[in-house]
């Protein structure tokens, strides 16, 4: 049933009030005592609480109006007979049209406002065209979340064009983030009607990439297709002539780069992650090359003072000093002019190459590396691999030395917890991890990528092999997600396919150890009084000497070798 909510008595001698703001809209579910409008009388500003509850059908007042005590403010449908208006109508545009019609028609006779929605719709003459098109709606496809701390990405490729029919999960663009190249799959199906990005653009998470005409209704994201066009036509002259004025008084949207069409970037500057710091403090920070947002403020609500900036700079400098020689304070030697010696060609570094270079420099500079070498007898393992290889292949994986090592290492991390840790030098703490995720370095055409197999301890060899195969393939075809490359505890890098005996891999910080695998070969091994041909696999374990002592590393690697020789050892202790 429909209830009316009228403006209650406001006090002696007060017969009317000005509406300052209306805090609810049709469709809102309101409760008793919830404030619905804010009014101002000659004496005060008052928030008017509702005396009814239910879903608002019509709001009969608007800000700026003068209303009398007793006037109907809202019509409210009590929850028992609640009608979902958005479903009754085929598009939102009709609702707004209908309510405008209704207002004009009914004038002061507000009781008509409680007519059922169907009735409203019938009052619109000649609306057949909008009915026929209204099932199609334009849906914005926005750049989805890409992973922790990733706010934007470079667009490499747009894989669709206007007019294409796309399906759910179809890759629509290829992007490059700090961490990987990713194909972004669509979550919408329908016809592409607008593309708002092009290769080379930087796309923000949440920015509208495509507009897709779709038959599927996604609540909250649908915008009516036809009425938008109509509005544009009606206002075309003014729209072209007037935009400045509206924005000119819009004050604080300034100072930002003008967003390109389609790029939603009209946030006022105060919301742009602005640090609570005075202009003079922000300026000093800029002069010192300090990102003010990284400075911790010591004032109320985190306000940043000049002293905070100085303290931050001091801390950074001290950290620099404790770094080993050749650390971050290192000055680059200028490059010679190579053209003096012959022809050269300069090419920009790809994002992955840049990140790899920066990350490995960081790891090399911050981790005191030692590499331990050893050899494992994998004669038995190879026999096992041959007899079970086919079975795993049927499941869609490949039983490789790497997948076996993944399982062995997961046991090893459990037995030697310092290998499953990270160092927090700032807090002087060691972080031990209770999960066993292991990364595997994959060589791809576009650079080095390290997918991470999660919870290796909980998976059997077939599962590990299948997953490794899938992830490696994803890495090669640039379809791997950021999630699939995060959270590693330890890394395995296998160069055995290419050859070589030993190498010293760089620890993938903040991990503390990495196992390098080279090519196994038959060697004469003296056992039980004679030389026997045994398949020996060279292993190189680089580790962070800050947390792992040499003896521990030797023990760990020896344990790995022995586990490969006698896998049952894994279940003994």
């Amino acid at each position: 049933m429909t209830n009316e909510f009228k403006l209650p008595e406001l006090g002696e001698n007060i017969t009317s009030a000005d509406v300052i703001s209306v805090l609810v809209k049709p469709g809102d579910n309101i409760e008793k005592d919830q404030t619905v409008i804010e009014i101002e009388t000659d004496k005060a500003t008052i928030e008017v609480p509702s005396t009814v509850e239910g879903v608002i059908k019509d709001v009969l007042v608007k800000a700026g109006e003068k209303i009398n005590v007793g006037a109907v403010l809202l019509t409210v449908e009590s929850s028992a007979t609640q009608v979902d208006q958005t479903k009754t109508f085929t598009s939102n545009a009709e609702i707004s049209k209908a309510s405008i019609e209704d207002k004009n028609e009914t004038g002061s006779d507000s009781s008509k406002g409680s007519k059922p929605p169907r009735g409203l719709k019938q009052s619109i003459p000649g609306d057949s065209t909008s009915v026929s098109t209204s099932e199609l709606s334009i849906i914005d496809f926005k750049l989805p979340e890409l992973g922790e701390n990733i706010e934007s990405a470079d667009v490499l490729n747009v894989l669709v064009k206007i007019g294409d029919n796309i399906t759910r999960d179809q890759g629509v663009i290829e992007i490059e983030t700090d961490k990987a190249t990713i194909e972004v799959p669509s979550t919408i199906e329908g016809k592409v009607v607008e593309i708002n990005i092009k290769p080379g653009d930087k796309a923000k998470v949440g920015a509208i990439i495509l507009k897709v005409e779709s038959r599927t209704n996604v609540p909250g994201e649908t915008i009516p297709s036809k009425p938008t066009v109509e509005n544009k036509e009606i206002n075309s002259t003014e729209m072209e002539e007037k935009p400045e004025q509206f924005k000119a008084v819009g004050g604080s949207s300034a100072g930002e780069k003008k967003p390109e069409p389609g790029e939603i970037d009209d946030q006022p500057p105060i919301l742009k992650n602005s640090a609570p710091a005075a202009p003079s403090v922000r300026r000093i920070a800029r002069e010192l090359g300090v990102d003010i947002r990284k400075v911790t403020g010591s004032g109320p609500a985190g306000r940043i003072s000049m002293d905070d900036v100085k303290a931050y700079v001091k801390k950074i400098n001290e950290e620099r000093e404790i770094l080993p020689a050749g650390g971050f304070g290192f000055i680059h030697e200028p490059l010679p002019d190579f053209t003096r010696f012959g022809g050269v060609e300069r090419k920009p570094m790809s994002k992955i190459r840049t990140i790899t270079a920066e990350h490995l420099s960081y790891a090399w500079n911050s981790v005191p590396h030692v590499t331990q070498f050893d050899k494992a007898d994998i004669t038995e393992v190879e026999m096992f691999r041959k007899s079970y290889g086919l079975k795993v292949e049927k499941a869609g994986g490949k039983l490789t030395v790497t997948s076996i090592l993944l399982k062995v290492i997961s046991f090893g991390l459990n037995k030697f917890p310092q290998f499953n840790s990270s160092i927090d030098m700032e807090k002087k703490e060691i972080i031990y991890k209770n999960y066993f995720n292991i990364g595997v370095a994959v060589d791809t055409d576009h650079g080095l990528i390290v997918p991470v197999i999660k919870n290796v301890d909980k998976k059997n060899l077939t599962e590990i092999s299948v997953e490794l195969n899938t992830l490696a393939e994803k890495a090669r075809t640039r379809k791997i997600s950021i999630d699939e490359m995060q959270g590693g505890c330890f890394t395995i890098t296998n160069l055995g396919g290419i050859g070589g005996t030993y190498f010293s891999p760089i620890v993938n910080a903040p991990e503390v150890a990495i196992l390098g695998v080279s090519r196994g070969a038959f060697e004469p091994i003296y056992m039980e009084g004679i030389f026997k041909p045994r398949n020996m696999l060279p292993l190189s374990l680089s580790y962070d000497h800050r947390i792992i002592d040499g003896a521990d590393a030797a023990r760990f690697l020896r344990w790995v070798c022995e586990s490969l020789q006698e896998p049952f050892k894994l279940f003994i202790d």
Partner: protein
């Protein structure tokens, strides 16, 4: 070492502020403008003359208000020629002063126009008829904006005014239609209204001053609705023709019905657009976007790194104080400082009666961006100072982050709001929170107390209104 040679094209508040700072920093500076002295639209045809006239309007209105307090001045006798002359004196005093400041700084001021031959060379056509081609290290574009119009309504009539001709006060018309309910239209409409003209406004959107928070506009709207002849919202002008001593205007209302009304004069004030025509930007790498603004980075550098752009041509909001700040930032960058134009708040002021001013976040923006905020409002009806002025039609509001209590936005409506907003801008820029404003002693009895008391409202502890915290 030779001094760095800079040219600034355009002598408005952006251009002259840049040029003056450049000179103070010891640069060799050339300032080029069409007018005899620096000043630009702001001083010659904008902010300054309109404020002079709005002061007069306020005076006239106050004498009328005084009759209710037992003081009757009678009807004002208006000598339009003298009023116009006084306004022109204000303008020439200010621009003449800038001319002197420019000479004192030994700025090479050239009256003329400039266009790019290439990225570092300008051809300057002087008003004297001569021209020269000069090379510079850096060039700053500060050519500002021009008045927009609706081409289909551009009739050739002296009765069709724009903001420039309206400031010339051709006469006091009996009736005036203002097209556009933005700040320019309302300010100039208020001037003519005070001088005795029956002013009507037609605005295309549902409310006056689109973009401003409705709870600020409401006080102004109320006053304008009673003072002006008619305010037509959701309406637009669809045709105009001169007929005898008036202009016949066809106005279309929201419901599609049109009516034809005669007005002595019509003022078209629908906004301004950036001016880059004739600059020869095609001979540079400067990029202009679809809406006519020159694209710049946070250092105000265009796509051509030795060319900077500031003020109205570099984007919204098109306000003098934004231009000046940008101009100084550009010069500091040229001087080698690591600077950026990234204010947290650019105040906007509408000099109507009552004035409306705001800075930082607006509620409209907060809602669009799903920002959590609390609005703490102090109505001026509870302010002693407002009551002594007979003006309780105002409000001061703070938009506050409920978690950190940081001040995100400030909005004020009431006489003097334009002066009061500066405290709000400082609060936002300093990262102040509600307690800071609450705990700062404000002088009594002044309107500035409303800023402190609205912060008290946030805590449910305002002395002069009872609204306990929920």
């Amino acid at each position: 070492m030779d001094k760095i040679k800079i040219a600034v094209i355009g002598g408005g508040p952006g251009g002259y502020a840049a040029a003056f700072l450049a000179a103070d920093l010891g640069m060799d500076i050339t300032l080029i403008d069409k007018e005899k002295n620096p000043g630009g639209v702001c001083l010659y045809r904008g902010c300054i003359p309109s404020k002079a006239l709005l002061h007069v309007a306020k005076l006239i209105n106050e004498t009328k208000e005084a009759s209710g307090w037992g003081i009757d001045f009678g009807e004002p006798k208006i000598n339009l020629d003298r009023l116009r002359a006084w306004k022109n004196e204000v303008v020439s005093k200010m621009t003449g002063g800038l001319g002197i400041l420019s000479k004192q700084r030994k700025i090479n001021y050239i009256q003329g126009t400039a266009s790019f031959v290439n990225s570092s060379t300008l051809r300057i056509d002087m008003v004297s008829g001569e021209n020269k081609v000069l090379k510079f290290d850096k060039i700053i574009l500060a050519t500002g904006s021009v008045i927009s119009s609706i081409p289909s309504l551009n009739i050739d009539s002296r009765r069709l005014l724009n903001s420039t001709s309206a400031l010339e006060l051709p006469e006091i018309p009996k009736s005036l239609l203002v097209i556009g309910g933005g700040y320019i239209g309302l300010e100039l409409g208020s001037v003519y209204n005070a001088l005795g003209t029956k002013v009507s406004v037609v605005e295309m959107t549902p409310g006056l001053l689109p973009g401003a928070d409705r709870d600020l506009v409401i006080y102004l709207a109320k006053r304008i609705e009673s003072a002006f002849e008619k305010v037509m919202l959701n309406a637009k002008v669809v045709g105009m023709k001169e007929s005898g001593n008036s202009i016949s205007v066809k106005i279309q209302a929201q419901d599609g019905t049109t009516s034809e009304v005669n007005y002595d004069y019509v003022l078209m004030s629908i906004g301004r657009r950036p001016e880059t025509k004739g600059l020869g930007l095609e001979n540079t790498k400067v990029k202009v976007n679809q809406r006519g603004w020159v694209e710049v980075n946070k250092q105000l550098q265009t796509n051509d790194p030795d060319i900077y752009a500031i003020g109205d041509i570099a984007g919204e909001p098109m306000l003098a104080h934004k231009a000046s700040h940008e101009g100084r930032t550009a010069i500091e960058h040229i001087a080698g400082h690591k600077v950026a134009f990234e204010p947290l708040a650019i105040p906007a002021v509408v000099f109507t009666d009552p004035e409306i001013a705001w800075a930082g976040l607006t509620e409209i923006q907060a809602k669009e961006n799903n920002i959590k905020y609390v609005s703490a409002k102090f109505p001026w009806a509870a302010s002693g100072r407002a009551t002594t002025l007979g003006r309780s039609d105002g409000v001061t509001k703070l938009l506050i982050n409920p978690e950190t209590e940081r001040i995100l936005g400030v909005g004020i409506c009431g006489p003097g709001a334009g002066e009061l907003i500066a405290e709000g801008v400082l609060a936002i820029e300093m990262g102040a929170n509600a307690s800071d404003l609450k705990l700062t002693i404000h002088p009594h009895p002044t309107l500035s107390e409303t800023v402190m008391e609205s912060a008290e409202v946030f805590f449910g502890q305002s002395t002069h209104i009872y609204r306990p915290k929920k």
